[in-house]
Symmetry: C2
Subunit: 779 residues, 2 copies
């Protein structure tokens, strides 16, 4: 509890930033007092004490539990379904499925406007884990038992579980018209053929990244409750308004009758950007039973049915001059969105197109269907896959022309976005500084020298690797609306619609308010992520939440400040232009004796609050806002066991202004950890030949990196470009860039240590032992 | 559930009202489609199905129950208190009281700035029911048992329980400095002495109204819960922001750390305008136990400790000319706010000052302390008491000069507010029309003729009575802020801070949105009465909620409409001035083929919502906004048993525009019912001689009118003045005016039937039998 003797709402003695005139664009902050500082999360207490209520914690009176019966086959037709036994089991209140009316709700796995619609309960099950029926019962166990008691007769169909063979003759079709999603659209600029002619060195290589599962700590799930014809859903989601519109569209309801709340949630990484079938199923079960229904997926269900990072099969050919200039890049990729088209190849080629200056580029990405769960956006869709190929190739090219990998990259820093029409410049390009400052901070050259001096011998061998990246988005954009209420004592209520995925969104927004008003973050009450009570926001994803929302928060805070100063100007009989806000009071610049506390402003107690509304302004025209990143790591490889120990990692990132230093660093460490997962531990394993089923559908067999897999030494090095053009807070996206080059940096370090180029994820002992043996054999 | 085939968000074919330019004051509505119609309450389903959650329904995990030990003596000092036994009782988690730290929280019964502070647990108990200690336990029964097990030794002090003797010599002092609250301030205008000289008839009479208890159906109570140092309170209240500031001040907390929610509540009538000691006690118990605590008062506690309409002892002398002109009024009142000064005499003299044209007026109101629970605002503070005196006197004067009581009142209709300086005119004065149209609709003259013809004989005698009134407030005023979110499908979310006491506030506000946007009320989602998520509002009371909030709602809706039209103007490439909203589409006036659905507006889906913010504009300067009322009733009196049967009642009221006809009528019927309570059934009975204690502290002995006490025929007759000056919706206050003249009208009817002037409430068989006997004796 706040000690009243110590209450200090306001930063003592420090004026808040200048207050612009209404309509005027605020100037970038110069020195900050809250923004960018190492201040604790505003919801730290709730998170560590357990009082934070996640959707999985929501418990309503008379609540039932839902369970979904899922198809156990990779590809099958439901021929018969008998729910009689299930309906008679203890505690069961409702059973719905392919044989009930609810099956008719149209459904698309990608989004609500996809051409490829399935049904909510579709008798044609195109992947293992497809929903066939669902039960609501008094307890979760009763619900699961009843779901298992539903008797389904399937006609098992031939399947395809490997995207590399999906287009072969004689392979089973996932959809009637074949396995190609749509004819691939080639990208090209310049003339790759003549580019290769100019090259001194041409290298060519196949790469593959395995399919990853998002594995958020909180499984997908929701609680649905009806009051008459009004539906409330508590959902573990990245975007409450998206859930609202998905559910409203599926159930043909007006938006005003669907309220979605999702204030705490345990991670999403792209897999919780939209409603799931489970969301609509929970709503339907609740409607039928007239009881609230909680439906939380089991961990196994989340492995099968709610998204993945699709596997990518890539081929990259690159030409370079001896001076380090890239002359041509030619890239192809075959990937899969699973049984439903969800961007299998989306953005895999973006870095090849856009990261380095190269006049001649050709790419072709083909997406195919297989009988597996649908892909979903996954922290930097496509980018880590493309980086795996491009950044390993850059490493190889540098070696081939005898350049340092950092120098080689510096040679090809882009001046503008080449992948977009019109040579649009970046508002800021911190890539050079990420590489240079990062290399210096990491001790890149010293480490290279040290390792060269040691020589490539011994059981344990060290290596260092570098990789870079950019994230094609990350500038944020409208719309965003923020409402700020300043109470009569000067404490504040902040209202926004965005979800905080655990990334610190609430903390960042509070710090912006603190910066502008001088009020300490703990005196800011936050309401967010509720379509009923909070303002509109697009889902938190694409590293756009902070650059989208924070300028709107700043605008709202400035509006409050303008109103306070206007009231004070009347009270003090001084021109508003002479007044500024400091330590919870409005003061005169010219006459320090003229001063009035916020709480004393005329009529503020009667007026109750001062309301500020802030909108996100449009982005600059004809400019591109992108974050950049360079990462450096050192590994130690056991040449006998194939174990790779990552010794240390440094991430240098230009994500614009650091808004909250602690959560910023956490994002960096989290991104590196996730990249290590892609590099070294994670891979969905399908039994492609016998059954098509996923064989590692649990936390033991599907290996998410643990504390033992990440280095003790992780360093976050912000490269703070003063991006005044991007938006009024200068923040750019952070969450995604920091995971993009990680896996490639590890692979490059492993190459540096071993001389072995591991082109396929994961670099685990199984693969590395085999490669080491092959290497020894060839040597 | 909404049938998707029948969803009709918008009123077909009817254009919405004209959209003013930004900054322009909207014109009064001409023909309305939603406002004023007989449409069901928007929360009817929740209310009748039981899904509405009142504070008393809030149940949190691990919640404890609180109970308060109250002083059983009228006036006593706590000398010793032993809580050891209570602390050891099963389920008990905390005991606090006069001997613990919590006693030091300063407390005022009136408001947070009153001079007369007590302590939260004050060892000097100045009324029966004062809080001495409190307990939190696992169940309510454990809590009550433990509270009873607290052993308190009291020193019983002499008391005063009758305000009529409070200033007598030798009477016990409630507070150290004596029993007079403060020297009474006389009011005067003109020269009463010469006024009486001019009079042809002078009458003089004592009147008394008894003390009433509010008796809302839901007793006072709350649930308090802490998350770290942040407190959430669910309170049965008329104003969440007032509770927030009361609790924040008592506990010395910043407002941003106190969230108060009070969405449904079961009646207040003025007794729930502020936090109670129980609110702060619940918060403290919750803090000590680190568990949520529910504290609901028993019915008995609400009779003793949370407010009443103070008894009033009045004397009125009036002079009148034969032509019906009032020449002078002289009024005095002695009343009591109980042990703590809460406006015992507040506004009792207002009607004498202001209702009728009279050049010479003198009033004096004295407030004294007695050892009884504090008074509270009670539906039209002071006014029904004053009306009891004035309107009976008007009846008597009319008879004395041989004028019809209606004609006599019409003779003295005021042109401006006489009680306020500056002869400020009323925006509208519907009093004449209330009397004339009301009399016509009631059949006043026919009834008088019929009863005269029958003569005053027989066991059952009929009589008719009239009384009028005004409510000194009822115009509403700033501040009010409204936020409206129009979703991309055209359905709407409406956000306001005001409580809906059951009066239909939500329905009225929804109808305003419907009127402006054409969207049907059922497609409006409402969030209200939550300091965390909704906009600022002053407490719902003083008949000001509708005239305060509804113009702000209209402003917000107009802002949304302006934005929709601006977007459509771009889309259709038509000047905004040529466009209007109809049936969920923006259309051209000049070219009917140019039309665009709201849901199709460019970027609306991406933008997500259109946000409109609306503020309450200031009231007109130098004008007074007051509602007026006239009521007519017919009674049948059993001359043997003294039973009065109220046969029919008609209320004609100028409350400006009728906003929602069904809830409007409900308010009228409720006001009349409550006035019948004052007239005929309700009275707090104190044992003034022996113990000072209240002897009828339950629903059996304290008689709130039931369905059997109110007439079958109640008629609500709106006198709709088109009050374009008052505010943009034209609404004036309703809740209070409709109960002001009721009791006097009944008394006048009883006089008409019996010839007996009952000057003291209640007119129950006990009193009337006695008066009839006396009358027979005297006759």
């Amino acid at each position: 509890m706040t000690d009243p003797e110590k209450v200090q709402y306001y930063l003592e003695g420090v004026p808040t930033p200048e207050t612009p005139q209404p309509g005027e664009t605020p100037k970038p902050w110069q020195e900050t007092r809250f923004v960018g500082k190492r201040l604790p999360r505003v919801d730290a207490y709730e998170r560590v004490s357990g009082t934070a209520v996640y959707p999985v914690d929501v418990t309503l009176p008379k609540m039932l539990y839902g369970a979904i019966l899922r198809c156990p086959h990779t590809h099958a037709l439901v021929k018969q379904i008998d729910t009689q036994k299930a309906r008679r089991m203890p505690g069961v209140h409702a059973v719905i499925g392919v044989n009930t009316l609810e099956a008719d709700v149209p459904w698309s796995y990608k989004d609500r406007v996809s051409r490829r619609q399935s049904k909510l309960f579709d008798p044609h099950c195109r992947f293992e884990g497809e929903a066939v029926a669902a039960v609501a019962a008094e307890t979760p166990y009763q619900a699961w038992d009843a779901a298992k008691a539903i008797n389904v007769v399937y006609e098992i169909l031939p399947f395809v579980a490997d995207e590399r063979t999906a287009l072969n003759a004689g392979v089973a079709f996932v959809h009637e018209e074949g396995n190609q999603v749509s004819p691939p659209e080639p990208y090209g600029r310049g003339d790759a053929t003549s580019g290769f002619t100019e090259a001194d060195v041409i290298l060519e290589q196949d790469y593959r990244t395995e399919c990853e599962i998002h594995v958020p700590l909180e499984p997908h799930g929701c609680v649905a409750n009806w009051d008459g014809d009004r539906l409330t859903i508590w959902e573990s989601t990245q975007g409450v308004y998206k859930i609202q519109s998905d559910v409203a569209e599926a159930l043909k309801m007006p938006l005003a009758k669907v309220r979605v709340i999702g204030q705490y949630m345990g991670g999403g990484f792209g897999s919780k950007l939209q409603a799931g079938k489970y969301t609509v199923i929970a709503a339907l079960l609740a409607r039928i039973t007239a009881r609230p229904v909680k439906l939380t997926l089991s961990r196994e269900e989340t492995y099968l049915a709610v998204g993945n990072r699709p596997p990518a099969n890539m081929h990259l050919k690159a030409g370079v001059k001896k001076d380090g200039s890239l002359t041509a890049l030619e890239f192809s990729c075959a990937a899969t969105g699973g049984a439903y088209p969800a961007g299998g190849t989306s953005l895999v080629d973006w870095l090849i197109r856009d990261l380095y200056t190269c006049p001649n580029v050709r790419t072709l990405c083909a997406d195919v269907y297989i009988n597996a769960g649908p892909a979903r956006a996954f922290r930097a869709p496509g980018h880590p896959q493309g980086a795996w190929a491009l950044e390993q190739m850059m490493d190889a090219l540098a070696e081939a022309i005898g350049m340092d990998p950092v120098d080689f990259r510096l040679k090809n820093i882009p001046l503008y976005s080449q992948a977009r029409p019109g040579q649009q410049p970046y508002t800021t390009t911190g890539l050079r500084e990420c590489l240079e400052t990062g290399a210096r901070a990491f001790g890149w050259r010293e480490a290279r020298d040290r390792i060269s001096a040691t020589g490539k011998s011994g059981k344990i061998r060290s290596g260092v690797g570098v990789a870079a990246g950019l994230w094609f988005a990350g500038g944020g954009r409208p719309p965003a609306t923020i409402i700020l209420k300043l109470f009569s004592d000067g404490s504040v209520n902040l209202n926004f619609g965005a979800s905080d995925l655990g990334t610190g969104t609430k903390t960042v927004m509070a710090l912006v308010v603190s910066e502008e008003l001088g009020v300490a973050p703990e005196f800011i009450q936050i309401e967010h992520a509720d379509t009923g009570t909070t303002q509109f926001a697009t889902p938190s994803g694409g590293s756009k939440t902070v650059p989208t929302e924070s300028p709107a928060v700043r605008a709202a805070a400035i509006s409050v400040k303008q109103q306070l100063i206007a009231i004070a100007a009347k009270d003090l009989k001084i021109a508003a232009g002479d007044l500024y806000l400091q330590s919870g009071a409005v003061m005169s610049r010219t006459d320090p004796s003229k001063r009035i506390e916020i709480a004393q402003l005329s009529g503020l107690k009667d007026r109750g609050v001062v309301v500020g509304i802030g909108y996100r302004a449009p982005n600059p025209e004809n400019k591109v806002v992108n974050p950049f990143v360079a990462q450096f790591c050192e590994v130690a490889v056991d040449m006998e066991t194939g174990e790779v120990r990552i010794i240390r990692f440094l991430g240098a990132q230009d994500s614009g202004r650091v808004m909250s230093r602690l959560t910023y660093d956490n994002q960096v460490f989290g991104g590196i950890t996730m990249g290590i997962g892609l590099a070294a531990t994670e891979a969905r394993v399908l039994d492609t030949s016998q059954t098509g089923k996923m064989v590692n559908r649990n936390g033991h067999d599907y290996k998410v990196p643990t504390i033992l897999d990440v280095p003790d030494r992780m360093i976050s090095l912000p490269i703070e470009t003063n991006d005044a053009e991007a938006n009024t807070t200068g923040a750019k996206g952070l969450g995604e860039p920091v995971t993009i080059p990680t896996a490639a940096a590890v692979a490059n370090a492993v190459y540096h240590a071993t001389g072995i180029r591991v082109t396929q994820t994961p670099i685990n002992p199984v693969q590395l032992c085999w490669l080491l043996a092959k290497h020894r054999k060839e040597a």
